[in-house]
């Protein structure tokens, strides 16, 4: 197996050693940079330049209705956003959706991963059906949920007491958004957990069984500890993904009745309020929130940043 691992990159080189790098090594470096250059240029142009530009815009008064009045206003856009109850309500809704959906997905995803791994029957069929929600266009799935809960159209709305319109009530609508999110993204969680599950040695489980460990003990004492890196990475991926939830809410409620996430708020500020300055301040704040979540995970829980895991191999 060690033959597969890439040879270790040389440690920091002294100036003298660097001068002695052979021509072949230098050619390899140049070729490496050359191969990566186009990808780096595209990513820098579309992701990094706009972020810098967003920070710049967020410091301006920039209203698309009055573009000639654009001027520098310092941090006042951030003040406007952070002192607004609308931002904090959207933030709370986003966090609730993120926490509840990811928590349920973890349990459900673990169960499905076990099912995929251990089921003796219909393995291909189960795998296909679990992959379908992952692949389906979020908007298409969101319309399915919307129509299902629309009174007079849907089969699910018919189960509720007459006269109720779940998508127009704040908490019921948030519940439906969470349901749609769970349905769509549990498969991704399942696959990440499945990857961790394949790393649990069968012999260890068998030995524990011989020693009289119950199924639950084997799960909590052997599987979960061994799967911890996979679980943490799955949680990190899904939390960052859930924090930027947009498609499901946009289709299901358009963010009405207090169901909007921070992404919906940012979108509305640009395309309804036409305020680029405020919208950009919201964009930057969302980015900061995402960075904080990632930081907590990587520092607090010791989640190996997936990049470093890739490097180590």
């Amino acid at each position: 197996m060690t033959t597969v691992a890439a040879p270790q990159a040389p440690a920091e080189l002294s100036r003298e050693e660097r001068r002695r790098l052979s021509e072949a090594t230098r050619a390899e470096r140049r070729f490496g940079w050359l191969l990566c250059a186009p990808a780096v240029i595209v990513m820098a142009a579309v992701a990094f330049y706009p972020i810098v530009y967003a920070v710049y815009l967020s410091l301006q008064r920039y209203d698309l209705r009055f573009p000639q009045q654009t001027h520098f206003v310092g941090l006042s856009n951030y003040g406007v956003v952070l002192s607004s109850s609308i931002w904090w309500r959207a933030f709370a809704v986003t966090v609730i959706i993120m926490v509840v959906s990811v928590a349920i997905e973890l349990v459900l995803g673990m169960a499905l991963a076990m099912l995929l791994y251990y089921t003796p029957l219909w393995r291909g069929l189960v795998r296909t059906s679990i992959l379908l929600p992952y692949g389906i266009v979020t908007v298409a799935a969101a319309y399915s949920w919307q129509f299902a809960w629309t009174p007079g159209v849907g089969y699910l709305a018919g189960l509720l007491p007459a006269g109720s319109a779940p998508l127009t009530s704040q908490w019921q609508a948030i519940g439906i958004i969470i349901l749609a999110e769970i349905w769509k993204t549990t498969p991704f969680m399942t696959l990440l957990l499945l990857a961790g599950l394949t790393l649990v040695p069968d012999d260890l489980l068998k030995a524990a069984k011989v020693d009289g460990a119950t199924t639950w003990q084997r799960f909590t004492q052997i599987m979960v500890p061994l799967m911890k890196p996979a679980i943490l990475v799955a949680l990190l991926f899904r939390m960052l993904d859930a924090f930027r939830i947009f498609d499901n809410i946009f289709i299901l409620t358009k963010g009405n009745n207090g169901t909007g996430s921070v992404s919906i708020l940012g979108y509305d500020n640009l395309f309804t309020a036409l305020n680029l300055g405020i919208g950009s301040a919201i964009s930057v704040l969302i980015l900061i929130a995402v960075a904080i979540i990632a930081f907590i995970f990587i520092k607090g829980f010791g989640t190996a940043a997936p990049g470093t895991a890739l490097e180590r191999r």
């Binding site: 597969v4 040879p7 470096r29 070729f31 490496g32 191969l35 990566c36 186009p38 990808a39 579309v46 992701a47 972020i51 530009y53 815009l57 099912l115 003796p120 029957l121 219909w122 291909g124 069929l125 189960v126 795998r127 296909t128 059906s129 679990i130 266009v137 979020t138 298409a140 799935a141 399915s144 129509f147 159209v153 849907g154 089969y155 991704f188 990440l192 499945l194 990857a195 961790g196 394949t198 069968d202 996979a230 990475v233 991926f237 924090f243 930027r244 947009f246 921070v262 940012g266 979108y267 640009l270 680029l276 919208g279 950009s280 964009s283 969302i286 997936p306 990049g307 895991a309 191999r313």
Partner: protein
């Protein structure tokens, strides 16, 4: 090391399943029940769309889970005129072009990451992961403004370029995981025979990497096909609006009827390629999504 271990474990599991004595009927029933519940859970929202799409327009609001009166009229409705055909062409075109470019650039970068020694490699991996985790909404504001100035707003390149940037991390990540599993002794042999880096890349590695490249292409295409936020933010007409974005702009028979049938039919149409991909390439998709992610 574990990248190699995983398929081995899978093979072992299959061998074990084959040698096991016949399962007791009770266990079979409980596994079967668990499978059936899972399949029902994943399929019922999809079936509901199919059911709505095939309902006769007069029975759309009967709330029945099964069409009482089957009809093609919702489908013929959306293929009449250009309200859906044009966005569908946009979706296919933008998806295919983005996929081809992204896979080519991703293959180059992933090969370099997997096989070559050069400074800045770790930074590149870190940065591309950062981009994969970016909240897209943070880029909508600046991209909207930049594209208006550059004249890219509401054009194919205006969507293709951002899609490239956001699918490249996925492509680089998945491909470099695949590239690590290629038997590199072949590369050494080619080197001994005097092939250049470039020749090794094109004649030895690329053909071996083809399955990984195909998997990545599917994942990237699915990403572009699915994308919604940029598709509604960076377009304003059917010149570049993709199918998911166009569905929200469908109009009913009169302005007071909500076009449920048309939307359901369009949703079924854009789901068909996904179902085909999943059925044909399920193993590959699972491998592609899990290989890069957690093993290390």
């Amino acid at each position: 090391m574990t990248a190699v271990a995983a398929p081995a474990a899978r093979t072992a599991r299959r061998a074990r399943a084959a040698t096991q004595p016949a399962m007791p009927a009770r266990r079979k029933v409980s596994w079967g029940a668990a499978n059936a519940i899972t399949i029902a859970w994943t399929l019922f929202p999809i079936w509901w769309l199919i059911s709505l799409a095939f309902k006769d327009p007069t029975t759309l609001t009967d709330g029945s889970f099964w069409p009482q009166k089957w009809s093609w009229s919702n489908f013929s409705g959306i293929f009449h005129g250009s309200a859906f055909i044009r966005p569908l062409i946009n979706s296919i075109g933008i998806g295919l072009i983005s996929t081809v470019i992204s896979v080519v650039l991703g293959t180059m970068a992933a090969y370099a990451i997997a096989r070559l020694k050069f400074p800045g490699k770790a930074l590149l991996i870190g940065v591309s992961l950062l981009i994969a985790m970016f909240p897209l909404i943070s880029l909508v504001n600046p991209l909207f403004n930049i594209e208006r100035v550059l004249g890219l707003f509401d054009t194919w390149p205006g969507l293709i370029i951002p899609y490239l940037a956001f699918s490249l991390p996925l492509a680089i990540y998945t491909l470099s995981a695949f590239f690590r599993e290629i038997p590199w002794d072949l590369e050494k042999a080619a080197k001994v025979d005097g092939a250049s880096q470039r020749q090794i890349f094109l004649n030895v590695i690329a053909p071996l990497a083809a399955p990984g490249i195909a998997t990545t292409a599917i994942l990237v295409f699915m990403f572009c096909w699915n994308e919604f936020l940029l598709a509604i933010s960076l377009t304003s007409t059917n010149a570049a609006r993709t199918a998911p974005a166009a569905m929200g702009f469908f109009t009913g028979v009169s302005q007071f009827t909500y076009p449920i049938g048309s939307i359901a039919a369009a949703a079924v149409i854009i789901t068909i390629p996904i179902v085909i991909f999943v059925m044909i390439f399920q193993r590959r998709i699972v491998a592609g999504l899990t290989s890069g992610a957690v093993k290390g």
